[in-house]
């Protein structure tokens, strides 16, 4: 059964699977992985909110990724977020996909999506990918399930310290929403029945920032990346030293990874290619590749260096 609740309260109290753009929900249903009732959020007022508030920008949960990618205010204040939204999937998917849906989508592991297979995420005993074909899976071992976290927007929103507003007005940060990856059954930790209503972005840094989003991918479209990275840098007044750095990487673990060690190392350094090339390998510290994903460790430093350089292009 499908219902189209007319208010957020009604939606929150309707049992069943929420559907926004439906780009993931429909596939899960088609594959028989979900078959509960559908609660379509189409008629819910307020989910298309787009507000410049005092504490930053509030983006309604239902706003499309195309809009985020193309909106002038987002592009100016949160450039890597806009770039990430415009860089994932295909134009057709981005037109449909909602902000909340992009955060809460399920992993694309083909074992998980196989109708007959009971992997750990579906309550089975083991992660089938770990023993099977995992060429596109994690190279950081952060929990039982080794499917990379699917959400590009999660990485970008984390890099911007965004908060997720729920229907009960509570606010969650991204790491809390996603959890630490140890429970294979949870791709996110939104309590069942809760609704995401908006995402709050804090005001941009007063002195501005240099930012970039990029992905290593062999096929440009219609595929998740081998690794992806959001980079934000703040420079000192003269532009000679890095004041602060924010790097969040996706596609390499069952949750996005914040590269804190590398961030710290970058602070105080001149923003040059020499620095970037020297420090980029720190991005793979602590990595624990699976038998088939060792190659990702060779890709990551190149990606990190490239995106740091791309961010600096904004300074020129």
């Amino acid at each position: 059964m499908i219902t189209f609740p007319k208010s957020i309260e009604a939606a929150a109290s309707s049992p069943g699977q929420r559907r926004a753009g439906g780009t993931d929900v429909q596939e899960l249903r088609h594959l028989g992985i979900r078959s509960d009732d559908l609660v379509d959020l189409r008629d819910c007022p307020g989910l298309d909110r787009f507000e410049q508030a005092e504490d930053g920008l509030h983006l309604g949960a239902g706003i499309s990724l195309t809009r985020i990618a193309q909106d002038a205010a987002v592009k100016e204040q949160y450039p890597a977020l806009a770039e990430a939204a415009g860089g994932l999937a295909t134009p057709q998917i981005r037109n449909r996909a909602s902000l909340a849906g992009s955060l809460l989508q399920e992993v694309r592991c083909w074992y998980y999506r196989h109708p007959d297979q009971q992997c750990a995420k579906k309550g089975g005993a083991v992660c089938l990918a770990r023993q099977g074909d995992h060429l596109y899976h994690s190279c950081f071992d952060t929990g039982v399930c080794v499917a990379p976290h699917p959400s590009t927007m999660a990485a970008a929103l984390w890099a911007y310290d965004a908060l997720v507003e729920l229907d009960d007005a509570s606010l969650l940060d991204i790491p809390t929403l996603l959890g630490d990856g140890t429970d294979p059954r949870r791709t996110h930790h939104l309590a069942p029945g809760r609704l995401v209503v908006a995402v709050h972005l804090p005001p941009p840094p007063p002195k501005g920032e240099l930012a970039a989003y990029g992905r290593a991918i062999s096929r440009a479209r219609a595929e998740w990346p081998l690794a992806e990275l959001v980079v934000r840098l703040g420079l000192d007044k003269k532009g000679e030293k890095i004041d602060w750095a924010r790097l969040v990487m996706g596609g390499v673990a069952n949750r996005p990874l914040r590269l804190s060690v590398l961030e710290e190392a970058l602070v105080g350094q001149p923003p040059t290619d020499e620095t970037f090339a020297r420090l980029a390998p720190m991005a793979i510290e602590g990595a624990k590749p699976l038998p088939m994903t060792g190659y990702k460790l060779r890709i990551i430093p190149g990606l990190v260096r490239e995106q740091l350089l791309r961010a600096m292009e904004g300074a020129a």
Binding site: G32, A89, T90, P91, Q92, I93, R108, W110, Y111, R113, H114, D116, Q117, Q131, G132, D133, L135, A216, I217, S218, R219, A220, R221, A222, E223, L226, M292, Y295, R298, I299, P301, G302, L303, R305, E306
Partner: protein, 835 residues
């Protein structure tokens, strides 16, 4: 447009783009179409179409869009396909668009195990579910079949064993798909699980239970060897002894699937007289008709196959499939029409795609770059059944002997059964893999000998009239022209070897058959028949069973008839969809249709033309030699002011004959090929040839390969319809690019298919498909209709080695395994010490 299945979606995306951006760049167009897959066109013509609309070009509404080749009235003209507009607006039905009254929907239960015995199947609960009308198991259709009549090794549903994850076990018909799915969940199957055979080494060792425990004659079988062929021509050992340089190595070509955008679909229905009609998305209506007749035990004349519009096939719909046989039987049992539509996963499980092939190849050459000997030892991973396997095994050896001359050649090719989805014929059947190995080896040879790779190929080129070492005679071959064309277009001489590290150019060439002299079912009957009949309204009907799978065989028939009769193509109506109404053509495979149906159509049209000439000469009381034909009207050569419309000529001819004007033509097979066992396999009436140059960028840090541009020159004899020939070159090249860089069809350690959806199958999108420059070379073949030969498969082959060779030129590593994915390129760079 080719099959047209993607067109409505493309048009919507293009429209959305043009509403926002009036004159988009190429990048903007490819980005906007990035979410719409097309499997046929390589996106080239689609991007061009968007550019033409953006430029507000005045596009005429007529079928013919440009001038014909010199001396012709329509041949060689830019023309629309007769089904183009209908498909673009979604008017022409594909099989799944058809809904018959009272129609049920069927689904097939598939094996979760790669290898297991079926101990029991219990349908009772499924049959008891409300809304379920019929359920069948393997024992209901026990007759084994195969598209190749000598090797029947599969049944519509498994009878004793399942042989891959996805093998069909039972089928159900119900009021809708959901109910049918619910019924499948209620079927209880007891299995005894066996150890699966999942790779070539295990298959060859034959340690456990073989995939097939009996052969098709019922004799016990102890190994997994499905077919072995070994042949030797010329003095191979002497050739190697005389070689100044030898390249030797092991190449591996990964499997891949056709992935037509339209999934397979079939509808079965029986009439009150007990006649079966089966609608199906098939490229071989005739073989399907035969299989239905044999397996269901219905006489051939009581089986009718209707082929609606087809949304792409590429070899993936060229044999009978379980859904067709099950739809027919379920419909009989239920007393209602039954439709079965494959899910995307089922399309990949039905497969019959490219064989994974391991090739141990050795090539020797003299100091001046002349090949002295070639030796190849191949193992083919065939999957669970035979399919066209016997042909694939022969082709993998027999079709390598041109377009570069091999003076001495030896091969052994062995196809093994494994517990995987069955491999079969994919575009370029059997030869894309060894061609990859040979063309890469030639590149290595040219490096060793210090000879430019294009020159090396020139020094070994076969030309028109030559015969290959294995006895195939080649009426026409434009390899030298193709090489020169891509050399010039790509700026090879000026740029090759001078590009910076990370950028490179590579070349390769290939040859392919235009049909086979030896049909699948040996027969003295013609391989193809065409019936023409004229109507007094002024139209000419062309009946021919050729399956238009998007490649444009209807357009080809229309053009040939229109040319011969000088009639407006719009007045030519092709009837090719119904076995009750059109004479047999064996099917759209082996690149045979243009040549064989074209010749049959030409013959039929010449017959009608003669009757028309006689009638008009009689009416005008002039000598027949004075009658001039078309375009549009017929005239008196000595008095051009005297002319008459074709419709009037048809009327006069009908009056003169006193009966409707009809005429038939056929393509009769001539004996061709070498006089040894297997000598006829690969013997073709004509051969096409192709050369490719690829330009690539390789990122040494990420291993990501980007193809920047592809030039393809293809000798198709004569381009009857140049736009369609270019479309085939572009589409083949793009499909080759996908196999080179992205695509695979593999299973994991339990036999689960690792690419069950379009996402994992990784077809190239418009974004990573670079500009493809398709260039037509015409050698006017002495056999083909008006000199035409194939264009639909040949231009795939050399794409892959051209890219591999370009990667070497860019970063200095040889990649001997497809696809050239980032992790492989990185590994090669590391191993070969390049970074």
């Amino acid at each position: 447009m080719q099959c047209g299945f993607c067109q409505p979606g493309m048009i919507l995306s293009a429209h959305a783009l043009l509403e926002k951006t009036a004159s988009p760049s190429r990048e903007e167009i490819t980005a906007a179409l990035g979410g719409n897959l097309c499997r046929c066109t390589g996106y080239t013509k689609i991007v061009e179409a968007v550019q033409r609309v953006a430029r507000s070009e005045d596009i005429s509404k007529g079928l013919v869009q440009g001038p014909p080749a010199e001396g012709f009235s329509i041949l060689g003209a830019r023309a629309r396909k007769p089904d183009g507009i209908g498909k673009a607006v979604g008017e022409l039905p594909y099989t799944d668009d058809i809904a018959l009254p009272r129609m049920l929907h069927g689904r097939i239960l598939r094996s979760p195990y790669a290898h297991a015995r079926i101990l029991s199947i219990d349908l009772s609960q499924a049959l008891a579910l409300p809304g379920v009308y019929a359920a069948v198991v393997g024992a209901d259709l026990p007759k084994a079949y195969c598209v190749i009549p000598w090797t029947p090794d599969e049944t519509a549903l498994c009878t004793d064993k399942v042989r891959y994850v996805g093998d069909g076990v039972a089928a159900v018909a119900a009021v809708d798909e959901e109910t049918a799915d619910a019924a499948l969940a209620l079927i209880k199957v007891e299995y005894e699980v066996l150890a699966p055979v999942l790779d070539l080494d295990t298959a060859e060792k034959a340690a456990g239970v073989p995939v097939h425990e009996r052969d098709w004659k019922g004799r016990p079988r102890l190994d997994n060897l499905c077919k072995e062929v070994a042949l030797s021509f010329g003095e191979v050992d002497e050739g190697f002894a005389a070689a100044a340089a030898v390249v030797e190595g092991e190449w591996f070509y990964e499997g891949s699937s056709h992935a037509p955008i339209e999934p397979h679909c079939a509808i079965g229905t029986w009439d009150a007289l007990g006649r079966l009609t089966l609608y199906s998305s098939t490229q071989v209506p005739h073989y399907l008709q035969r299989a239905l007749s044999e397996v269901l035990e219905v006489p051939l004349d009581r089986v009718r196959v209707v082929r609606p519009a087809i949304g792409g096939a590429f070899g993936g719909k060229s044999e009978p499939f379980d859904l067709e046989l099950c739809a027919a039987l379920l419909s009989k049992r239920a007393g209602r029409p039954v439709k079965i539509l494959y899910t995307r996963e089922e399309v990949f499980l039905a497969h019959r795609g490219r064989h994974p092939m391991e090739m141990k190849l050795r090539v020797g050459a003299s100091a001046d770059g002349k090949i002295t000997a070639v030796e190849n030892d191949l193992r083919l991973d065939g999957g669970a059944y035979h399919s066209f396997g016997m042909v694939t095994t022969w082709y993998s050896g027999q079709l390598l002997t041109g377009p570069v001359h091999l003076p001495a050649y030896r091969f052994r090719s062995r196809r093994f059964y494994t517990n995987k989805p069955c491999c079969g014929p994919k575009r370029g059947h059997g030869t894309v893999q060894p061609r990859f190995a040979l063309e890469c080896a030639l590149d290595e040879l040219s490096e060793k000998l210090g000879i430019d790779p294009i020159d090396l190929r020139r020094r070994n080129a076969l030309v028109s009239g030559d015969e290959t070492i294995n006895g195939q005679s080649i009426p026409s071959l434009g390899l030298l022209q193709c090489l020169e064309r891509v050399e010039t277009l790509s700026g090879w001489k000026e740029r090759r070897g001078k590009l910076p590290f990370g950028k490179g150019l590579g070349v390769a060439c290939s040859m392919y058959i235009s049909g086979t002299a030896y049909p699948i079912h040996p027969t003295e009957l013609p391989q193809s028949g065409v019936m023409l009949s004229a109507d007094r309204s002024g139209i000419v009907r062309v009946a021919c069973g050729a399956a238009d799978i998007g490649q444009g065989s209807d357009a080809m028939l229309m053009t040939v008839v229109s040319e011969v009769l000088g009639i407006d193509p719009d007045a030519v109506r092709v009837e090719s969809q119904d076995t009750d109404r059109a004479p047999v053509d064996l099917g759209s495979y082996s690149s045979r249709v243009t040549l064989m149906c074209g010749i049959a159509a030409q013959e039929a049209a010449m017959g009608m033309r003669q009757a028309m000439i006689s009638a008009l000469a009689g009416a005008w009381q002039v000598d027949e030699a004075r009658i001039g034909v078309g375009p549009g009207s017929w005239f008196d050569l000595q008095d051009p002011g005297r002319h008459v419309g074709v419709a009037e000529v048809l009327r006069l001819a009908e009056i003169a004959a006193g009966r409707p004007l009809v005429s038939a033509g056929g393509f009769r097979t001539r004996k061709l090929g070498g006089k040894y066992q297997g000598g006829t396999i690969g013997a073709s009436p004509a051969y096409s040839t192709t050369a490719h140059v690829a330009e690539v960028s390789v990122d040494p840090e990420t291993g990501i390969v980007t193809v920047d541009k592809l030039w393809a020159a293809h000798d198709c004899g004569r381009a009857l319809l140049p736009t369609l020939v270019e479309g085939q070159i572009e589409g083949s090249t793009a499909m080759g690019l996908g196999e080179a860089l992205f695509e695979a069809h593999t299973v994991d350690s339990r036999g689960l298919l690792a690419q069950p959806s379009l996402l994992e199958a990784c077809l190239g999108t418009s974004v990573e498909t670079p500009p493809i420059v398709a260039s037509i070379v015409e050698t006017i073949d002495p056999v083909g209709p008006f000199g035409a030969k194939e264009a639909g498969e040949g231009p795939l082959h050399s794409t892959i080695p051209a890219i591999a060779n370009a990667i070497h030129d860019a970063v200095g590593v040889r990649i001997r395994r497809t696809p050239f994915s980032p992790e492989r390129v990185l590994a090669a760079l590391k191993e070969q010490g390049r970074c």
